[in-house]
Symmetry: C2
Subunit: 285 residues, 2 copies
DNA sequence: CCCGGGAGG
DNA sequence: CCCTCCCGG
């Protein structure tokens, strides 16, 4: 394990994690950037090259907030050893788990919280970080597989409940691998009042619809072409004051590595938000 | 195949199919008796002993109408060769199929009809017989297995439509293996106006609720105890004039054969109806 | 003809 | 982590 970390420290361009581009400085005060990605840490194939690819993306975008799912201890250690300018929060110590990475010079960590799903059979939970602005950042990897729809929807209801009950002065951003099918959200009566799906807010851009797509991604060697929007961001606005508006959403990790694998069987989501006055304020002020 | 029929002709007491009990004569003018049974003709085990058991029951009750599902050509030939006093109508020539058997001295056959289910993947259809009184008799074996719920409900809607649209002077009796779960009927908004579930009309007698019951019936070697009301009778009253009222419903085929098998994995339904004046007539005449 | 799990595509 | 098929319970 330790030698793996050393090897990767050599492989990646550590430089990229400490420098800051001019473009980035230009926008940093008005924007929040976020990456959400299930990195398929359970797949034992081409672990090093895939980790290298992941680090390359994380270093390229230097997002303010990184939400990861299917981390395993070895990948966690690798990231932690290289991304020294991020605060690391993990959903669990062992098995596979989620993580929240907060860029220290951009978001001020205040406190974190782990919420258990009482009936999960896959060890899933909800990881929450309260940070400055104020923001509440959440991630989860909801129960996998079609057959676990009921449990997944239980977990989704719990996520939505926590989003609603977060402090009213906080903007709440949830990002995760929801494993959701559209009919499941419909079954719950659609999104609850006050919670928005960021991809819907952006007008359902077709090019960032499917985050899991076996018509392109053959990491899992699934012969059927199946495309699903498993990975989603939800937003709950703060009650008043400055609001956060989604600005763009693109998918990352779309390129094949030399080993003929993709970084993960999921694409990553790169999303930018813009801090702005609330609509109410625009009208009334 | 032919030798099978000969063997069974020797085995069964053919006598029972031509004699008539005193009790039967007493009630025949006022009552209609019906048997509905999925006889599991696809199960290749103990075919002769099970067929013998079936013939024994059919000879014992000499029902006016017998509705069978999962007949196969060999069982069809056996029954046809022995039950000479019945008119035989079959839903199909090959594979497995449904049949309507009409006791010639009790019900007058007028015409029959086979209605295709356009999207069945299991070759299912609706078999209809118009007989005197006038009655319209229907049977079907709706799409099997939980996974085929959607197709099964399509077929159920079609059955109900045909029941509703039968000539208004006819009483309509449907009996078959519906493979229905209660939640599926609820999903359709319950029984449509004008169509009744005979078991419900009789006050939901607990002892004839489950027609498929692996807690007792081990023909399928299913270790879990699962009880379902797959086999159902529906009734649509004639618009006016004499009505048919359900009187009793009992399950048959509950006893084990010497081979340690039951006749079928389904119990049979034995149902009696009584011809009587309609409620309206009772009040107004 | 139930359910769940495992293999293969 | 898709789906279907098959098998065992």
């Amino acid at each position: 394990m330790t030698s793996n970390v050393h090897m990767l420290n050599k492989l990646v361009h550590v430089r990229s994690f400490t420098e800051q581009s001019a473009d980035e400085q230009k926008t940093q005060s008005s924007h929040l950037t976020l990456i959400c990605w299930n990195i398929d840490g359970l797949d034992p194939d081409n672990v090093f090259e895939r980790a290298k690819g992941l680090l390359s993306h994380l270093g390229k975008y230097r997002a303010d907030v990184v939400l990861l799912q299917e981390l395993v201890p070895v990948s966690w250690k690798i990231l932690k050893n290289i991304m020294k300018d991020y605060q690391f929060l993990q959903g669990s110590e062992d098995g596979y788990f989620t993580g929240i990475l907060l860029r220290k010079d951009r978001v001020q960590f205040l406190q974190s919280n782990i919420v258990k799903y009482p009936t999960t059979e896959m060890g899933r939970n909800l990881l929450i970080a309260h940070v400055g602005h104020p923001l509440c950042i959440m991630t989860s990897h909801l129960e996998s597989c079609k057959a676990s729809s009921q449990e997944r929807l239980n977990q989704l209801r719990r996520v939505w409940k926590w989003m609603k009950e977060a402090p009213q002065d906080h903007t709440v951003i949830f990002g995760g691998d929801t494993n959701l099918r559209d009919w499941e959200v419909k079954k719950l009566g659609g999104l609850p009042d006050g919670i928005s799906d960021v991809w819907l807010m952006l007008g359902e851009p077709e090019e960032s619809r499917y985050t899991w797509d076996t018509s392109i991604n053959d990491n899992n060697e699934i012969p059927n072409s199946i495309r699903l929007r498993f990975d989603r961001l939800f937003l709950r606005a703060a009650a008043e004051g400055a609001k956060l508006q989604p600005e763009s959403m693109t998918l990352i990790g779309l390129e094949k590595l030399k080993c003929d694998y993709f970084i993960s069987d999921h694409w990553g989501i790169l999303c930018t938000f813009i801090f702005g006055a609330s609509e109410e304020q625009c009208v009334t002020d």
